[in-house]
Subunit: 159 residues, 4 copies
Amino acid sequence: MKDELRQLLESCIENGTDDDLNALSTLIKGVQKKITYKRSTFIDGILHMERTFDKDTCEISIPINPIINNNLNIVHGGITATVLDTAMGSLANYLLPEGFGAVTNQLNIHYIAPGIGDSLRCKAEVVHQGSKTLVISGEAFRSDGKKIAYATGTFFIIK
Amino acid sequence: MKDELRQLLESCIENGTDDDLNALSTLIKGVQKKITYKRSTFIDGILHMERTFDKDTCEISIPINPIINNNLNIVHGGITATVLDTAMGSLANYLLPEGFGAVTNQLNIHYIAPGIGDSLRCKAEVVHQGSKTLVISGEAFRSDGKKIAYATGTFFIIK
Amino acid sequence: MKDELRQLLESCIENGTDDDLNALSTLIKGVQKKITYKRSTFIDGILHMERTFDKDTCEISIPINPIINNNLNIVHGGITATVLDTAMGSLANYLLPEGFGAVTNQLNIHYIAPGIGDSLRCKAEVVHQGSKTLVISGEAFRSDGKKIAYATGTFFIIK
Amino acid sequence: MKDELRQLLESCIENGTDDDLNALSTLIKGVQKKITYKRSTFIDGILHMERTFDKDTCEISIPINPIINNNLNIVHGGITATVLDTAMGSLANYLLPEGFGAVTNQLNIHYIAPGIGDSLRCKAEVVHQGSKTLVISGEAFRSDGKKIAYATGTFFIIK
């Protein structure tokens, strides 16, 4: 496996453009982060998520780079969904007492403006906390401050 | 950059688990695919998407591996959203005449069952094709045939 | 109360247009239906719902008249939502064993074309039946067959 | 028509319960309101909507009565949708320059708590105002202050 990895990398180095090599750097650094900081998921590392919690909010920021773009060269809606869902789910889990967790039951996203610029920041807030579900909202902003998406989701509370 | 990449890889090889090395293999092979087959996006390569079009449907399949899982070890809802959105948007673009494209305006997803098993398959179908928007539905299935998500989205038609 | 009702009606008869009197006729006939056929709700009577169940579907039709229109003289989106939600919820209840009921937890509607013509027909189908929730889809059609709305909803199963 | 209306009313008076007569009173008063105050729609009158605009919000309140309840004796989700959609659409229209109007393209509603008590109040706020669409959010509260629903919708701007 180890030699296979080295050969894979050499093949990419030989044939890839600068963009491709930058992408590889971002990806391998993401895995390195996952290894070093024992991040819970690869997605967390690869997207280079920075997470902060406040009283009733959770914010996650990620850098924007070609890896997460669609073929129009703007952030893929699925990546925005991934960061929104992660921020919203993290907040849900943060608010629940120990021994309980939350899973996404439904997610609705309005895409408002193209995701461009240096970074993407998602902020989750509680709309409703019940005994069986939480409803959470999430906003996504780009680095110039423009809101690019607005989401709401239902999260099921599980043991 | 090239030597930096080699050092990054060695650092991961030294400290990573088998899972980490498998993840690296999947990621670098994804970039290689992007380079070799001139895939339009890194996401397409990294998720190893296989895309097929039928008359009025588009299907995308991806293998399931730890890279795309959340901390419960099931496919991250954002990844399911990414594949659904890609299949739905690809269908929208496929149906439009040359010179026109489609961008996601709104996406609603019901998560029904955990994404586990070997692969994830998303199938998009047209609900409505208008002059300004398309409404597309998408279903996600896992390899045992169980439906794991159902989505609908509004796509804006742009020139 | 009875005399008050008679006076109210006379005041409307005196000052109303033909449209207003037709609306009154529809409304009072709706209450009469509710009384005579012991319909479970006033909404059911006033909207003159006709409901049919098939194996896995529920259809509800209503006549279109000025009472249910918005100020653009097309069916109010809230009325379409009401008939869709009723058909979808009726199907959910129909599918559940005795002693269980279903309540709407979330409803997403795509409005596709204006509701005009003689009647509105909504057809609900099951997307997923689980142990805690059902996901149901609903389509709304007008009398010329054109689809005017597409909805999906999550229904909670309660005892 | 006039005599038919009188006979219809007498038939209801004869066979109806107190609840039925109260419902009739609410309905006929609603039509009377529509006639007297030249309300733009019957729905507006029948639901006895009270509308207020602030800088960037629109609020609509309605009394709760058996007419708008479902068979569980709580406000029908479709009625909540109707008042939310009306408040959200009214705000959209209020914000647009003369000569432009807004139509609901998509509406997503989270139902949070049962609609009971004396009245229902819906408050709409702007999430995003673009050149082609507005995204509006709406909250529904009952008279004890509890939030019973949260909605977001996309509104198309038309001439």
